[in-house]
Symmetry: C2
Subunit: 313 residues, 2 copies
Amino acid sequence: MLEFCMLGTGGTLPIPDRALSSVYLRVNGRGLLIDCGEGTQVGIRRLGWGFRCMDGLLLTHYHGDHCTGLAGLLLSLEKAGRDETFHIWGPKGLKRVVEGLCVIVPPLSYPVMLHEIPATGGELDAIGLKIRAFPVDHGGIPCFGFRIHLPRSAEFDPERAKALGIPMQVWKRLQEGETVRAGGGIYTLQDVAGKERKGITLVFSTDTRPCETLRKYTRDADLLILEGMYGTEDKRPQALKNHHMLFSEAAEIAHEAAPSALLLTHFSTSIEDPEAYLEETREIFARTWTARDGEIVTMRYPKDEEPAWISLF
Amino acid sequence: MLEFCMLGTGGTLPIPDRALSSVYLRVNGRGLLIDCGEGTQVGIRRLGWGFRCMDGLLLTHYHGDHCTGLAGLLLSLEKAGRDETFHIWGPKGLKRVVEGLCVIVPPLSYPVMLHEIPATGGELDAIGLKIRAFPVDHGGIPCFGFRIHLPRSAEFDPERAKALGIPMQVWKRLQEGETVRAGGGIYTLQDVAGKERKGITLVFSTDTRPCETLRKYTRDADLLILEGMYGTEDKRPQALKNHHMLFSEAAEIAHEAAPSALLLTHFSTSIEDPEAYLEETREIFARTWTARDGEIVTMRYPKDEEPAWISLF
């Protein structure tokens, strides 16, 4: 199971009840943040999933609305008693940005490790997720989208276990991923693996024009979280100038990628009620939703050939 | 008239409905901020007094809860179309702190001027206020309190005006501070000044132990805004260790200084309801209040020998 909370759904500037961009992902009690705009630490406090269990932060890019909450976040982790390493991934310039923002942060009780993502993107692992960072088009500055995959182990095949003479008493431990010594052999789940099973795939990408990498990495995902910076066609000149997307453009990306759902976020302050544009957007991609600050979404492994279950439905 | 809004009343970390330390002062439509913790820009937006009219920021010190909102504030001023100089005053190290926090801020549409306050304090003028920065005791780091005075012109003396032969038609302009040419002479209010009149004095000082400078500069002020970091006597060891004050200690300072009112702010996250400690605190200083986020206080010039009128009463 993968859960996430839309901590902040605002773009550019925060407004009352709409904090700046941030998503809290949770898998097996461990947390990972995507972006950290102003308001993130108070959003986490309101959510109640905790600071201490948070292992890292992915930064899409270094515009203020995506990283002004960083110093506060690190201070909150400190107060929560974190002592394990905290990892931060981001585009080129990460060290300069973190050092700058942390000019007012005293030495921390835990190590912070920085991982600069190459301009062409790259792969990284965090809290059990396989994540592919891919470059997007935000007007010439380095900016990434993230394709986030929660893998699932293959089915346990009792016939193979029997054939290998593995006693039934240790089957459960094998299923849970343990390496087991039994009947003179050493076995892992791999040795008794049956049918492969699909995991869960989520794509997060805001602050981009529609582009080839976005089309490529959104394909066949279960859920897309894309930006709905502007609601209406008359805002196209702003979208082009500021390198953002209209609701309709995000929906076109979803229409091509065919996920189970599209969740829009990163709304311009000029949008009072994002839901007002849903009806029109759903004409392009029917399974579109608009996120609200504090909204929690759960994604569960699919059954057989079905798509992953998403609590939006 | 001097108005202020308690934008954030939280210390150390923000919690839902209690943003980090910040006060918005307003005189004649011009704004000045004291401190700028995370949440300040959204507090200003909620308040509605505007960004563009804000001329400067006083920083007491560089702990995160007092300055993490700086980059966001500067970005909000930019979006509001500010083109006049924005002034920032703060202790030694100001340039390093502002440059660090602004690592993610692109070149701004308005100049930012930095004014480092000497370790011993100093005087500064902003939005018609005469401000004395005085050093306080926050554990060895440079930290200032501010004694803020809104002066008032002397009374207009009609007898002096008549004696000088100034025609009645221009009295009003003289009263409003204009330099007036009349009957062959050039006059200012100074020439027709009668009785001196008291202005309004407000002291803002959080993040300190009780100390001599605090006692000295709080004397005879109309209103004190002091910290109520901890509510109860059993928190004295923390107050000593972290260089903060108990409610009772702030009230003792007020008892000595004898202002019209004491407003407590900068509450520890461990304090759920600051009002719960009011009754006890009022035994030391009866005219004590606890601030809430978004609370607006108005101070008006006194009538005759009365103290300034404060909307808390």
